[in-house]
């Protein structure tokens, strides 16, 4: 399966999760687990950017994991924002209107500004 995750935590505590490959029913549990780890064990309040530039497929399971992450982050007064998505990935957020809850920033700097705001 074509999937990989990388996490980099900046000096101010903001974590950038870089997701590569396909996010579906087989791979979404790994993303869920990583987000949960950052939210429960990382800096509080959690501030997380999910960089999706390397994601070539994402389905409803992936949307569910990101929505679950947002819910848990908000419960701890933190924030979670998305950055960079290929058109076919952005389309999934648009047709489900999840984009109204979880906007996708066009570049990483804008996402970092938003999560620090």
């Amino acid at each position: 399966m074509d999937f990989d995750l990388d996490v980099a935590t900046h000096a101010d505590g903001v974590s950038v999760v870089t997701v590569l490959g396909e996010v579906d029913v087989a791979t979404a549990p790994a993303l869920r687990q990583e987000l949960l780890r950052l939210i429960t064990e990382g800096v509080s309040p959690p501030r997380v950017v999910v960089d999706m530039a390397g994601v070539d497929f994402l389905d409803s399971t992936g949307l569910g994991v990101l929505l679950g992450g947002l819910k848990r982050v908000r419960a701890k007064d933190g924030s979670l924002v998305l950055a960079r998505a290929e058109p076919q990935v952005r389309k999934v957020f648009e047709i489900t209107r999840v984009i109204e809850i979880l906007p996708i920033h066009d570049d990483l700097d804008a996402a970092l500004d938003a999560v620090r705001a």
Binding site: M1, D24, V25, A26, F57, G64, T96, I101
Partner: protein, 155 residues
């Protein structure tokens, strides 16, 4: 013309393989637009994922059958996804609240069927003797498809 049948174990790690086969089956027709193949890949993936999850709930190590029929004259691909996980009532799936509804964040599931209905030109979900059959039809381009909702029965 082209008919392909695929049988996979009802397990998450096989969903990627199956959606790639279905997308490649549509791409045999060179006039199939790349954007429509993306729509097909995602809609089929949602159908197969539902079948995998139904088998997981039924505690069965079942199998899923996928049949693709590329209709060159009809400018479309017709895909059936069959599971044998018992029944499923699509009307029993709670509808997802509007995005501005505070309860919306509680819905981490339930987006698969809306995605299928949005992306496929026709979507039918039917109970069979052993489980559920989902039939999806995707046209090769927006202009090749019948008008919105024409002959697109709501399951």
């Amino acid at each position: 013309m082209g008919e392909i049948e695929l049988e996979i174990p009802a397990r998450p790690e096989y969903v990627s393989l199956a959606r790639q086969v279905v997308a490649a089956a549509a791409a045999v027709e060179p006039r199939f637009r790349a954007e429509r193949i993306d729509d097909l890949r995602l809609a089929v993936s949602e159908a197969i994922t539902n079948a995998v999850e139904a088998h997981a709930e039924a505690l069965g190590e079942g199998r899923i059958w996928i049949r693709c029929h590329l209709e060159v004259a009809g400018d479309c691909i017709r895909v059936e996804v069959h599971d044998s996980a018992g029944g499923f009532d699509p009307d029993a799936v709670p509808s997802v609240p509007e995005p501005d509804d505070p309860s919306r964040l509680g819905f981490e599931h339930g987006l698969g069927i809306p995605i299928m209905r949005e992306l496929a030109d026709e979507t039918q979900i039917r109970a069979t003797d052993s489980g559920t059959m989902v039939e999806l039809v995707v046209y090769r381009s927006a202009s090749a498809a019948p008008g919105p909702d024409d002959g697109a029965p709501v399951a």
